[in-house]
């Protein structure tokens, strides 16, 4: 039924006013991301500029800033400098992204360093090796320790759904995150996110995998009242896909989740399509590739 439900929700027709609202909502929920070996301060500065001013021209109804810029730890200072006076958050992947294959102490130190350099949010990876070899309590413990190392920064737990492969595995991994936060009495809504993927493994944020995350968050909210955030990332390139994600969130978790505090989309090129669609709605014609500034 997962695939059937996901497909059914993809058929929601989001047009006219709903589309205008949805596109802006998606921009505001975007974790604009660059995670390449070739990233430089210059590249990150350009990204941050786009995060602040996503649309090349003022539209009748303003286009919001994105939610966060997501970069490697070394580049956090650059992003922090560019965004410190804005509401746009600095997110950083830590914990030996994307594989997670370093010693725990190194991963914790990397987390602490990223937070110290100004990261508001840490996108950690779980150790899929531990998970797949059945060492589930160790996975739970690592999540707890990374959260502790991250201090006040929000933590998005990347499950790397493409490596877990089955819906059952994905759900089990979600449940480990739920377990890791269960004894935290201080936790606030959106302090912890379930995130699908690093973007380095395919398939990434498939509708089915996202639906599994949403169902896990729903179960957690029913049981504890705590709203975990959700972040699909990887492979979301079109406005249509993004709108589908919003529909899935609304119809699985409810509209209370449709806020950047609880829902993000991790993507690099998606923003361009969102902007092109907004421009199309504004001008009534399709925008050329060159009319949207490069990310």
């Amino acid at each position: 039924m997962l695939a059937r439900r996901a497909a059914e929700l993809a058929k929601r027709s989001i047009k006219t006013t709903a589309k205008a609202q949805g596109l802006r909502m998606a921009v505001s929920m975007l974790d604009l991301t660059t995670l390449e070996g070739a990233d430089t301060p210059g590249r990150v500065k350009a990204l941050c500029a786009k995060a602040l001013y996503p649309c090349p021209e003022p539209l009748a109804q303003p286009v919001p800033m994105v939610a966060a810029a997501c970069v490697y730890p070394r580049l956090v200072p650059v992003a922090w400098a560019a965004l410190r006076d804005s509401p746009v958050k600095v997110a950083s992947v830590a914990t030996a992204f994307p594989s997670g294959q370093s010693g725990l102490d190194l991963r914790l130190r990397e987390t602490e360093a990223a937070v110290a350099a100004g990261a508001d949010e840490i996108d950690m990876v779980i150790s899929r090796g531990l998970f797949l070899s059945g060492r589930h309590t160790d996975v739970v413990e690592e999540i707890r320790m990374v959260r502790a190392a991250a201090g006040a920064a929000h933590v998005k737990v990347i499950l790397e759904t493409g490596e877990l492969e089955t819906a059952d595995n994905i759900r089990r991994a979600c449940d480990l995150v739920l377990e890791a936060v269960a004894d935290d009495d201080e936790i606030n809504h959106g302090d912890v996110f379930l995130k699908t993927s690093t973007g380095k493994v395919s398939p990434a944020a498939t509708p089915v995998s996202v639906l599994v995350l949403l169902e896990a968050a729903r179960a957690h909210a029913r049981a504890t009242g705590v709203r975990l955030g959700i972040k699909p990332a990887g492979g979301i390139r079109t406005a249509k896909q993004a709108l589908h994600m919003l529909v899935m969130v609304q119809e699985t978790l409810g509209p209370q989740w449709l806020t950047p505090t609880l829902f993000r989309i991790g993507a690099s090129s998606l923003l361009d399509d969102l902007i092109r669609q907004l421009l199309k709605m504004e001008h009534g014609r399709y925008t050329g590739m060159d009319e949207v500034a490069l990310t």
Binding site: M1, A3, E165, T166, A167, D168
Partner: protein, 294 residues
Amino acid sequence: MSGADRIDVVKTGKLYIGGASPRSESGRTFTIEDAKGRVYARMAQASRKDTRDAIEAARAKGLPKWSGSTAYLRGQVLYRFAEMIESRSEDLAGDLQRTGSTAAAARKEVAASVDRMVSLAGWCDKLDQLLGCRNPVTGPYHNHTVPQARGVIGVVTPAQPRLLGLISMVGLTLVPGNAVVAIVPREAALQAITLGEMLAVSDMPAGAVNLLTGDVDELLEHLGAHGDVRAVLGAGLSKGQRADLRRAAADSVLRPVHCVKFAGDDWVKDAVVSSPWMLDLVVDHKTIWHPAST
């Protein structure tokens, strides 16, 4: 055997219900006479209540055991039954002969009955493979259709051929695991008695086969209208009987009524009687869907 120095022992035929051999609750009997017009046997004449008792026994006792046994076991039980018919060949042929068949015809009919049961026995563990299949549905689903026992089946056996008709109709209904409540016309009552005697000492679970001898016209509607009868299979019925049966079946819970029309030598042809398309009349096809994905 009859002679001035000895008084005949007239056979008393009873019904066969739930593995026991009761008289009709109505107390009624009818007689079977031999070729010379002398009373050879007195048979119980089944009533509406006997029919009801038989259906209840079939549903409560016979069906769960018989439909719950493996196809391989059903095949063995039916084969064992063929062996029993073979060993009672003389009796059976004698009865046929005494009540109108020639010696040659009687022997032939008994042999055909044994062979029919052997043929049917072999169907038990093959029917699913011929009548069932996997369906190539559009989408990630496993989908298959399998023939299953329908449940209690009402059977009306023909007046001719008495033994082969009875054995064929009861036997084929048993193949997929159904329980049988058979109305046997007076003409074939003697054969039904012997069949019942054999069943009583066979491996067939009590209640899997129930035999009611008597007046077809009287019992037909009660059989067709009972809510626990899931299908009716009749042979040798007149146009009026077929209509009565269908009307009875339609009035309560619906169930299919199949009236087969075999010509004279059809009964001896396995290709006609022991065919998957006859067996198809007494199975129900169940289609099962299950997602096939991770």
